[in-house]
Amino acid sequence: MTQPAVFKYHADERRDFTRAIADLHRGLKLWRLWFELALDDLRQRYRRTVFGALWVSVSYLVFAVTIALIGSQMTGTALYPFMVYVAVGYLAWNFINASVTDGCTVFINTENWIAGLRLPFSLFVFQSIARETIIFGYGGAIAAAIIVLTGHDLAWTALAALPALMLYLINAVASHLFFGVLVTRYRDIAQIIQTAMRVLFFLTPLIWTPEQAGGLRDWLWWNPFTYFIDIFRAPIVDGIIPWSSWLFCLTFSAVFCLIAFSLFAHFRRRIVFWF
């Protein structure tokens, strides 16, 4: 059994922070469970399809190639470099987008587990992130193939994309905690976020480059996603490590994690009453 042997709760001494940390700790320890649950999520999504989760790769490939074809024609840029640019950026965006939008519904979707068992809330956060990471892998395989087939020159600095990925994962946890708590209580926020993310897809340099942005160029850097995409994409596409973007992302992440964790700690015990 994984429950603590003694459960003590006193409404006047809530010890929210200690309990929230214990929640994350217990959640991490259940890695076997959330990994299997994440696999089940994907199996269920692609139930009775022939290709199963390979559809993730297929739709990613079709999108990246189509955008690259249209984009290079419209702007007269070379096809292959632009394809690599779109593929890598879109890969990163998909993960970021999922960690925001899936974060919104993380507790709502798992209501029938939360209301029936004494499990750490973080379990469902890790389940969701594991699922998104697997999906990232399916897209990543295609991105790697595109990089190889287009003969793109990879520098050693491309490895700097890995710490960027780590930072994505950390922010994904914060994002699930933050939006998960908020949306379970105020359902409208999910709609606002979904709409915002759709718009932000076009406002972030993903299917166009900052050079093509014209007058918008100076505004780009007000969009936090610009920096987050940059730290992952620049090492692979341009072979450079964008230190100023890193500085922004690290600061942003620290503040975001702090806010998200505080919100989660404070409202954790209320979530179950919000369904």
Binding site: M1, L30, L37, G116, L117, F273
Partner: protein
């Protein structure tokens, strides 16, 4: 030492779906204004109780009287607004069929998931399947999605998942309604086993017969408060004479 102690526990549910409800059904908790605005349903009010190892306790009361809420407080799922809860021992709750299960997944898969939840490794979980399969007797249906099961079959699986992992405190909500005679016998035996191993069984039901059959003590809930508690015969008699049952 296994025990369950509640000290002056109160719990009010927030109501989000309406701001005009005033009148609740007879025997159910009252509607009240909440401290931070909005309406709330006072599901439990000033509950103090102590259950010790080896006890079999029945919770009786009308619909909405707080039985299920109290069970979830005992399971550590609901944190009360006031009062203290002390649970010594591993709890396992069976509240509604389907909770804590993936109905799209097979029965076998659900057993594995539950085993992983209890901290088993993958191999231990696989080994657990046979043992639980014996108990639920679903045969090849174990490889069908749970959503294809009948109510009774789902119940059997849910009961087995709840009681097969060495829980010391079993919290059961109206569980015996479905399930055929053969399974009820097995379930009875399983409950006896838990109590014999110095555990606790708490059974909530609005059916006095059921409580009388399975419990030695009873707690009568009315509007989220303890109306009376003591030996099961006395409580059930009082409950039946009140005209509530």
């Amino acid at each position: 030492m296994v025990s369950l102690t509640l000290n002056h526990v109160s719990l009010t549910y927030p109501i989000f779906d309406s701001n005009t409800v005033e009148d609740s059904p007879d025997g159910a908790g009252r509607i009240e204004k909440r401290k931070h605005g909005g309406l709330g349903l006072r599901a439990l009010h000033d509950i103090t109780l102590s259950i010790r190892q080896g006890d079999r306790v029945g919770l009786i009361g009308r619909n909405g009287s707080g039985k299920s809420t109290l069970l979830r407080v005992m399971a550590g799922i609901y944190a009360p607004d006031a009062g203290a809860v002390l649970i010594e021992g591993q709890t396992a709750g069976l509240f509604e069929v389907g909770l804590g299960m993936r109905i799209e997944a097979t029965g076998r898969r659900n057993i594995i998931l539950r085993a992983l939840m209890e901290g088993d490794t993958r191999d231990e979980a696989e080994a657990r399947v046979d043992q639980i399969a014996d108990f639920v007797e679903l045969r090849d249906f174990l490889d069908l999605p749970v959503r294809t099961y009948s109510q009774g079959m789902m119940m059997r699986l849910a009961f087995a998942l709840t009681t097969s992992f060495g829980a010391e405190i079993a919290l059961l909500d109206e569980w015996i309604g479905t399930g055929d005679k053969n399974f009820r016998k097995k379930a009875d035996a399983r409950m006896q086993e838990i109590v014999a191993n110095a555990g606790i069984v708490v059974l909530a039901s609005h059916n006095p017969e059921l409580v009388l059959k399975h419990c030695e003590q009873a707690i009568w809930l009315d509007q989220g408060m303890i109306r009376k508690s003591g030996a099961v015969e006395d409580i059930v008699r009082a409950y039946e004479n009140s005209g509530d049952s």
